[in-house]
């Protein structure tokens, strides 16, 4: 076992030359996994003029960066990216490899796992290293890959006991970004990229990307509405309360599906994970998918007319009542207190 590589790799995703937050979140988690494995955390950066990104990864704990820098890699493209990463994985055989569960990560990781016959678990919400017993066999230092399954009704722990490389994609915002304190140094190892005919099978014609103006992750107060708001008109009350409190507006998936609010403001498993100082859930029943995205908020107020709504199980303060009655009262009282 000694000779085998025990390193933890994190694929660093960049869009238009900007690294994705989730990649740094993964580095923070990967650092801990590498400590547990007594091994090294290595970042994998592919792009063009991406040296600055490579250096940034050292601030999040990477001790080495494998940098593939080439004009053909400026924009993510399935075939050249997967070919490159597959080569690296086959050469070095890392013990753990992590990707963000983003559109790019979910495009790339299965392709790499398929070729290298690695285990791959999608959309993990937690990762741990542990020794376990499985089918009467003892395994040391396995990666426990924890994810919701079955529409969020169960939490499954997945292992890849009998293959060397254990791969996982991890949801955005679930792990915390934690820069390393003090000065850092890491080694950049350049990996050469040799263009291949197959890279041209798919051509990028045009790309439109808009940086979202909504910053739910950074908000200290979030007022979120659910299907229980009843209508788009009623949903304006959510905006009013958020405006009064100086907070951001969010919604549950049901509210998004009903067209009350755009998808970029969705909190939960298929939306954003948030940890504000105060989260006010209005007319949200609180399916596990939603709770997964907000239950770590510092304080949670739930307003719902159903006293049995699951949202109350994660709330610090519960108000049973009609949202259209409670919210205006709340606004009034708050305004009085400000005076």
């Amino acid at each position: 076992m000694d000779k085998l590589n025990r390193d933890v790799w994190v694929f660093i995703e960049q869009r238009n030359g900007k690294p994705a937050d989730v990649s740094f979140e993964l580095l923070a988690k990967g650092r801990r996994l590498a400590e547990n494995l007594k091994s090294r955390l290595i970042s994998i950066v592919a792009g063009y003029n991406a040296k600055a990104i490579a250096e940034q990864t050292f601030h999040y704990g990477a001790v080495e960066c494998l940098l593939i820098d080439h004009p053909d890699l400026e924009h993510y493209s399935t075939l050249p990216y997967s070919r490159t990463i597959i080569n690296l994985v086959e050469t070095y055989k890392p013990r753990v490899m992590l990707f963000g569960a983003t559109i790019i990560g979910r495009d790339l990781a299965p392709r790499v796992a398929s070729h290298t016959k690695s285990g791959l678990t999608a959309d993990c919400t937690d990762l741990q290293i542990a020794g376990i017993k499985y089918l009467k066999k003892d395994y040391q230092d396995l990666l426990l890959q924890i994810r919701p399954a079955f529409g969020g009704n169960i939490i499954a722990t997945i292992i890849s006991p009998d293959v060397h490389t254990q791969m996982a994609t991890v949801r955005e915002g679930v792990m915390r970004m934690e820069p390393v304190a003090g000065s850092v140094n890491g080694k950049i190892t350049s990996v050469s990229f040799i263009p291949d005919e197959s890279d041209k099978i798919i051509q990028l014609i045009e790309q439109h990307r808009q940086e979202s103006k909504v910053n739910l992750k950074g908000a200290s107060v979030i007022v979120a509405g659910g299907y229980g708001m009843g209508s788009k008109e009623n949903f304006r009350m959510i905006y009013e309360l958020a405006h009064t409190l100086g907070g951001e507006v969010a919604g549950s998936r049901a509210a998004v599906d009903a067209g009350f609010i755009p998808h970029e403001r969705q909190v939960g498993q298929t939306g954003v994970t948030v940890r504000p100082k105060l989260y006010i859930a209005c007319g949200i029943s609180g399916a596990i998918q939603h709770r997964a995205g907000m239950q770590e908020s510092n304080k949670i107020i739930a307003i719902n007319n159903d006293p049995d709504a699951p949202i109350f199980s994660v709330a610090h303060y519960g108000i049973v009542g009609d949202v259209m009655d409670v919210i205006p009262k709340f606004i009034n009282v708050f305004k009085q207190k400000l005076r």
Binding site: R111, A122, F150, G151, I159, F312
Partner: protein, 296 residues
């Protein structure tokens, strides 16, 4: 000539519609009681394949790997307009993860032969992994475009596709053949055609024909199968041996990932403080939040 498509579909438990009847007393979901449906995004994928067929001619072939009862979703695909369906079913496939599944599907596709497009839903609602599509494309050594929003243009040997990316969209042009995974917004699946329901409701897999002959000494499976083929009602049924697959790459043996532990989500009691929606109590709550520097 025409353009040939293969659509990979999956029968899934309807996890989105969990009603009281499927909840156990301990607050967990009784998975066995959930109705089985055709995965929504696979249906959208089929719709895109059918639109190409409507415009350019060709053939739409459906494949699914699953238990015998997965034939239900194959019949639905026939009702919608698919030309042919394959059920890939074997006890030895049990416990397959996405890698083992993509091995079986890619070998099936190699056996079916020529195709221009392979379609699949972006992901299935029971696992939400979105892995089988790309893993199959890799095994076939063909390109993939995931998160397809719209097919813009089908050329002789290429296709132009708009796909979703984080924060926007991009337009890609790919040579054929290509595998596309499709998101729900890409199209609204057409309803079943009454005529096709009448025609294909009696379509049967080999396993279903075998059931018919059980206890009936006058019926022979081979004969019945010939008859169903002649009437265009035979759902091709393939096992591991039919496909000459490597057993070590199928089912649980071919699956690097294993489920170590499953915990049902049970709601905690909830020790929240109850606030009555009165002026006084709301006032007390807001003052407390302000004092704690949570608000204001």
């Amino acid at each position: 000539m025409g353009i040939n498509s293969i659509v990979m579909v999956k029968q899934v438990p309807d996890t989105a519609n969990i009603s009281g009847q499927v909840m156990k007393e301990d607050g967990t979901v009784n998975r066995a009681k959930l109705p089985a449906i055709l995965n929504h995004e696979d249906k959208t994928a089929l719709e895109l394949a059918l639109r190409i067929k409507d415009q350019y001619g060709g053939k739409v072939t459906i494949i699914t790997m699953g238990p015998p009862r997965a034939s239900d979703v194959l019949r639905e695909c026939l009702f919608m307009g698919a030309d042919e369906a394959y059920l890939i079913s074997d006890r030895k496939f049990a416990g397959a993860d996405t890698l083992a599944t993509s091995y079986v599907l890619s070998e099936t596709i190699k056996k079916i032969g020529s195709y221009d497009f392979i379609f699949a839903g972006r992901q299935a609602i029971d696992g939400d992994t979105a892995q089988v599509g790309p893993q199959t494309a890799e095994k076939l050594n063909i390109p993939q475009i995931t998160y397809t929003e719209e097919i813009l243009e089908v050329g002789k040997s290429s296709v132009k596709v708009r796909r979703k990316i984080d924060g926007g969209y991009e337009i890609l042009e790919s040579k054929l053949p290509v595998l596309l995974t499709v998101i729900k917004d890409a199209a609204f699946p057409r309803p079943f055609k009454a005529k096709r329901i009448m025609a294909y409701k009696n379509a049967k897999t080999l396993l279903e024909l075998e059931k018919l002959t059980e206890g009936n000494s006058l019926l022979y499976v081979d004969q019945l199968k010939e008859e169903y083929i002649a009437r265009g009602l035979y759902i091709k049924t393939l096992t591991m041996d039919d496909l000459k697959l490597d057993e070590t790459r199928c089912g649980i043996h071919g699956s690097p990932t294993k489920v170590y532990k499953v915990e049902s989500v049970v709601l905690a009691g909830g020790n929240h403080e109850k606030i009555n929606p009165t002026q006084e109590e709301l006032s007390r709550l807001i003052v407390k939040l302000m004092e704690d520097h949570i608000l204001g």
